[in-house]
Symmetry: none
Subunit: 266 residues, 2 copies
């Protein structure tokens, strides 16, 4: 899906912004860049801001008209500020990503089908797209910025929209790779060590309660909520086996230190 997305920049003034757009696209895995009458391209400023996304700049197509830029596209989406006087279907970047993903979901089943082409059209830094240009789009996409300061940098706008498209694409891949819906890893990242088992946790709490008593932090005649609070803390943290070993080690070291001092002086 991402490789079929085409970013179209209309009449960009600053070549640095073209470079910033290329970087944002490549970060998100979006491949094709089309420039409609850029004021200055190619140039050093574009390559400097691209920070390595030079392949996207090298392969960028420069064309004369928006029509040429969006030729062959089944879906054309224009970036828009609010409040054009003729209302047009407008989506936020997340809704756009859902709609684009839906377009691709329909064709993925048929391997012989050509992938649909989608164009994301961005206007001039200072004035955006003209009404005429906006009227060539199926949809408008509006980033819900603060109305008091609503104009995003061009590369920042491309970044946000490509980010949403990438999120939708990754969600689609996960759904395909993992149709049963296996649970996500517990802390959002693969952990290097297995979680502690329930019985390991219970042995930890028995040991902890003993040491809390030894250091006179817990009064067995008036235990209050201490062990409950410690349990809640360590249970919600979902300890792994090394962490349990460390905590057990701390408890053992505390006991030893107490005994050693006794021994030193007896």
């Amino acid at each position: 899906m991402l490789s079929s997305l085409r970013v179209v920049l209309v009449n960009t003034t600053h070549p640095g912004n073209i470079g910033g757009v290329a970087r944002a696209m490549k970060n998100m895995g979006v491949g094709q860049l089309v420039l409609v009458q850029p004021r200055e391209f190619p140039g050093d400023a574009a390559f400097a801001r691209a920070a390595g996304a030079t392949d996207i700049l090298d392969q960028a197509r420069v064309v004369e008209t928006l029509d040429q830029a969006v030729a062959g596209c089944q879906l054309v989406v224009g970036a828009s500020a609010r409040g054009r006087h003729i209302p047009w279907p407008v989506v936020d970047p997340r809704q756009l990503a859902e709609q684009v993903a839906a377009v691709f979901a329909n064709v993925v089943a048929d391997v012989t089908a050509e992938l649909p082409q989608v164009a994301l059209v961005f206007g001039r830094e200072d004035r955006g797209l003209t009404n005429e240009e906006l009227h060539r789009c199926h949809r408008h996409v509006h980033i819900p910025s603060d109305p008091a300061f609503s104009s995003l940098n061009l590369a920042a706008a491309v970044q946000v929209i490509c980010y949403e498209l990438r999120m939708a694409s990754l969600a689609g891949e996960k759904a395909t790779a993992n149709p049963q819906g296996e649970p996500e890893p517990h802390w959002g990242t693969a952990w290097d060590i297995d979680s502690a088992s329930a019985d390991e946790m219970e042995r930890l709490f028995v040991h902890m309660e003993q040491v809390m008593t030894d250091i006179e932090f817990l009064n067995p005649d008036n235990p209050r909520q201490l062990m409950t609070r410690l349990r809640r803390l360590y249970m919600r943290s979902h300890l792994d086996q090394v962490e349990v070993s460390i905590l057990r080690g701390i408890l053992t070291a505390t006991e030893k230190a107490l005994k050693k001092q006794e021994g030193d002086h007896v």
Copy 2:
């Protein structure tokens, strides 16, 4: 919620990026900028790229240390590339926004409560945050970029993350109008006690390291990964203030027990 978000930039090299960050923040309605030892600030390049977000630059605080930057914050989130060798809880920007919204959903009901402070910490353009800096965070946030070209421009990364936070904030406003759809609170239930602040956590770790040394569980000449693993455990657990008091109490009781036995026998 957005006004309580603090963007912290550590050792930024290019002042233009600071301006780009200010613009991205203001577009999304995020208010506070803190700079830890920027190479050059203030300066013309920052104001040029800010494109009118000069109030954010004017009010930016410049500090010497990350500790100063995150003081008073109940949630500290570090922007991270993948693949640190000790895994830390990592979320994508959308999950982060849900978690931050949950933190605020808990306090919104109580109009007398102080709003929680949340820090979003971003590292150097070329190297990101150091491991030590990342270990001061409750969570890491990773933008799921293309692994083959993963490094976003600093302002672009701030843009994506602030965009997600704004989307969650706007969804929260809608939910307030429609209280059936409120986001889940932080641990799936309303918490009875405020979260500990970043500085309370740092004092806890200093105390812990001292006691670990006293009981000879930590060898200062060969500390290995002990404090890192303890940090990860207690940061991801998101300790509340009573829990920090309990852990400090355990450390103090351990010291006392050691001294008492010394005293008994001297």
